[in-house]
Symmetry: C3
Subunit: 433 residues, 3 copies
């Protein structure tokens, strides 16, 4: 809903998502929760986001979006976008980092309830300044202006920004050190309005980040069932040069849609202690390693009812809204996904003294952090109308490592086992407008 007043506008929008997670085959007598056993079947609000957005004086867009879900309140978006020049707009504030493609897709348009693994290695929401520009195909039609910071589909677009720099998967509210992070992305739909129908909806690009975080706290990573599968050791910090590279693409051809993304992430992890000296207490790296992580994701979907598959906006627009009294059923979409994430071997380095019987994992304990996770998912989405979507996914994730073994006395042994395969039915009821 929108009220218009010349060059001013204000919209109140919102997204409500209620999720239901049911885990099967998760009662195998292993240690509760920590090894992937005894997971809680759960009804919960995944996203509750009243959104305020608008334009002042024709050229300045702004947006405020908090989230009240998951038992906490967090700010996701709060920015001003000075769009005087379409080739060089300047956004300032808190918004989605221009790195992972799937992250840039609206949460209400997602094909599966949770995004693939590559988004977890990328920054989530970051604070800073971003220069961005969108260009039309030379000689082609002008793309209509949208309110979004990231517009799809545009012939060519770039974003380059300086940010506080979050750790992987991080959503930060202030910097904990002087170092800032550069994030950049280019993306193109080269065949837009080209007449080659099959590839008009093909977009690809590459994004990346470069920074030098200092004593930054470590992230955790979660399974598609929202269970923590990787946590760093408590004394570990991200400290030193960090970069990410994200080749990315999507392709929509009529009812068919494909999203693919690859992620390379390198960071330095330090084992830190505090030392005293003439300059007072200071942190010191006792040891450190370089960690290389990789992830990829490929998602394919098909709209059975024939509507166009889309990446942007709030997703698929059914030709006819569901109305049982008029025999209209909305749109049905089926989808499949394969996604994988691998963590560097040296993040599991045992730093115990030679001869010690008990391992000391200074960076990550392989009994609490998986080395690899592979997920495949199948899903059905019923778009009752443009604003209401019911989703049902089956998601299966198998792991290497990540689990401990207890002896008869209930003591944790040195053995590293595989976390139990996660088999989850996840459904969602969504209203988004």
């Amino acid at each position: 809903v929108e009220s218009q007043d010349g060059d001013f506008s204000l919209s109140v929008r919102g997204t409500v998502q209620q999720d239901s997670d049911f885990f099967i085959d998760d009662n195998n007598g292993n240690p509760a929760n920590t090894n992937g056993d005894d997971l809680n079947n759960n009804f919960y609000m995944r996203r509750v986001r009243p959104t305020f957005t608008g334009t002042v004086w024709k050229y300045v867009d702004w947006r405020i979006m908090p989230d009240f879900a998951m038992g906490t309140t967090r700010l996701f978006d709060a920015y001003a976008d000075l769009r005087y020049f379409r080739a060089a707009s300047l956004a300032a504030g808190k918004f989605k980092a221009p790195v992972s493609l799937e992250r840039l897709q609206s949460a209400s348009a997602l094909t599966f309830t949770e995004r693939g693994f590559p988004t977890q290695l990328a920054p989530n929401h970051d604070i800073g300044f971003m220069l961005h520009g969108e260009f039309d195909r030379p000689g082609g039609p002008e793309t209509p202006r949208s309110y979004n910071l990231y517009q799809f589909p545009e012939f060519f677009a770039y974003q380059v920004g300086i940010f506080d720099g979050t750790v992987n998967n991080g959503n930060i509210d202030s910097a904990n050190n002087d170092s800032k992070q550069l994030e950049a992305r280019i993306f193109a739909h080269p065949f837009q309005s080209s007449g080659f129908e099959a590839v008009e909806g093909l977009g690809f690009g590459i994004a990346g980040s470069w920074g030098h975080p200092n004593d930054a706290s470590t992230p955790t990573y979660a399974t598609p069932g929202q269970q923590t599968m990787f946590r760093y050791a408590s004394a570990a910090r991200i400290d030193g040069t960090q970069y990410r590279v994200y080749p990315q693409m999507y392709w929509n051809w009529g009812p068919f849609g494909l999203i693919g993304e690859y992620a390379v992430s390198q960071q330095r992890v330090a084992n830190q202690t505090v030392t005293n000296g003439q300059v007072g207490p200071r942190t010191k790296n006792t040891s450190q390693i370089i960690e290389n992580d990789y992830a990829w994701n490929i998602t394919a979907s098909y709209v059975l009812t024939g509507e166009d598959n889309v990446f942007q906006g709030q997703g698929i627009r059914p030709r006819h809204a569901f109305n049982p009294f008029e025999g209209n059923w909305g749109a049905f979409q089926i989808a499949a996904r394969w996604s994988d994430i691998s963590f560097s071997d040296n993040v599991f380095t045992n730093v115990a003294k030679a001869g010690s019987k008990t391992p000391v994992y200074a960076y990550a304990d392989p009994r609490q952090a998986v080395q690899n996770a592979t997920n495949w998912s199948l899903g059905v989405n019923w778009w009752l109308n443009q604003n209401v979507k019911l989703m049902a996914d089956y998601s299966q994730t198998s792991f290497q490592g990540g689990a401990g073994v207890y002896n008869a006395k209930g003591q944790l042994t040195n053995e590293v086992a595989d976390r139990e395969t996660e088999k989850a039915f996840i459904s969602r009821v969504q209203v988004s407008f």
Copy 2:
């Protein structure tokens, strides 16, 4: 305020309540606060709730309502209600649990500043799915559709839902175990449009819940003056079959109004420890008891200025809004209430070894948890207009147990005393629209 656009609507609404609590006769030299002495006279915001609600595509209602009062931010409502069929609508999300009648009355329509004791034994806001239907009197006029999940007055209505299952008085955001809770309610206004004027506004019904919580954390209960009067022992958990039964009624006849409710609640309380074993650390019940609690409430009120007393919506609608320049005074309502709550004796079981001089209360310490509380209240409400209400209540609550006695050295003795009678003047300034 509402903007209409065919089958779509969006309303921004809100409730602001500022409360003032003044306690009298609360400086008797007993231990501060814990025994009901030295209570803080307090100005505070009781509810601050901007509310976003609307309809999309004619048949789907939604609502988002956070609360910013009491120094914290919590989500109260976030749901979608698929109302294609009036006899069988499906709501999904977080909303008021269909158990206690007084809970279902809007916070802005309440007769007294705080609800009676029965609501404390019921779930507050729960997450899940609820099927509900409303039916008109056969041959009678059609009740106009409202945006509310719970509609009053309807000839007959039912709600049945499956929820995460909160503990008593709980407002949860996710499940801590697999077990779900069934909640159901039926309610009728059998004499609606019957021509028997005295009982047209009589509604009654029954509600209940059934579940099997596992290792759930314990609730606390508060006095009408918002002081904690009952807390469980720290190792106590709600663990095992739990049910509630809530016969309920209200009756409005012109300016006269009556609300009555009875609550029976049974739950199993366990004294838990953690044990180690082949399957890792697990909780174990060292001992357990069955707890039966009872509460009831009866509230009567009368609108001196003659307007109709109502249960639903935002409350009484004055014939003339207060306007001192035109000699209009709004509406005045007087009210009285009697409410009581009793806790099972066995929740105060002393599990100390025979012969021990010091009691061990594994479930609830009778020096920190009352056995019984009885409240009577008198109130005057001045409805300046439909949206602004000033309330002034006197509330007196007497207790059995709940207080400790200290010896001359300042040590807590084994003696159980009665918590001091709470005498509170509570006033409220409310704007709600």
Copy 3:
């Protein structure tokens, strides 16, 4: 944006401020952060405030304003204002305390990114009741009614209220003791509509507070670069008679503007312990002192582009909004400020036993709390239009005390050093509407 419906109105408004703090000359090898060294250069959201405000039934204004910035969510405003009589309106709820003048200026109209030191000795947002009235010049024109609780410029205005009573700089949500605080303020624009153009925009007044807090927790004070420069000892409490006096003025003459304020604050600080006795555990003052603090601030500014300098509302209104395509540049303002704060010597009293080598600071440790801070700032504000402002400040603050010295073993010595001079470039991007 506003929707009008007779005597009802509802506005959705908002303020977004993204700040960037860069500290220079802050790497001098001193203990990190605690002494003012190694400060984090930081992009952060300073204010993110969706605001809901309106009027019901012509005479009752209300407002709800939470803030989602700084990684937390807090309620700032939530009140009802019963404005039946312009000479005696009654506000109830949470709102800005009527003490510091600069506090009453809207956050979006500020000349510098942070307010001067006097505001830190005043209550911030308090909860209670306030009677207030505004009067026109006898025979003069009637000032148009505004939605704000505090209106500028009015010929004469008074506010007098009873509040929970926050500590200095405090923003509270409930009272921790019975004692309430009286806050009052008078303010006048005596030459308004007088024909003496130079002084028509001169306003001055005086405000103050009087209360008797009991065991209240202590505040902290921050530098203009948002770094903590003063913290009390952990066992210190504000306990006993407290008053504040705030002479205050501002003067606008065409593009020139001046704001000046002086603050005197007296409070009693106690060193508390808990003792046991017949009445159970109670706090006791082991020792106590009277603390007198002083602060002042003078801010001058000039609008280079000739627009009127204003104190009220959202600030300066450029004659022409920035539009590079039409050669319009908006408004430019330059500003300078001098501000100072001094803390009582006796708050740094050493209560160690005679002969002890190690000092015991029961109220405030001079190695963690400065005795004096002096700030000067220069700033440039570019008002692109009435709703968008870019700010760039240089702020330099020098300190007496506030820093510790470490010996070669890294132990804190008894020596008190001066906290490092803070040299900060602070910029802001603001959208406010």
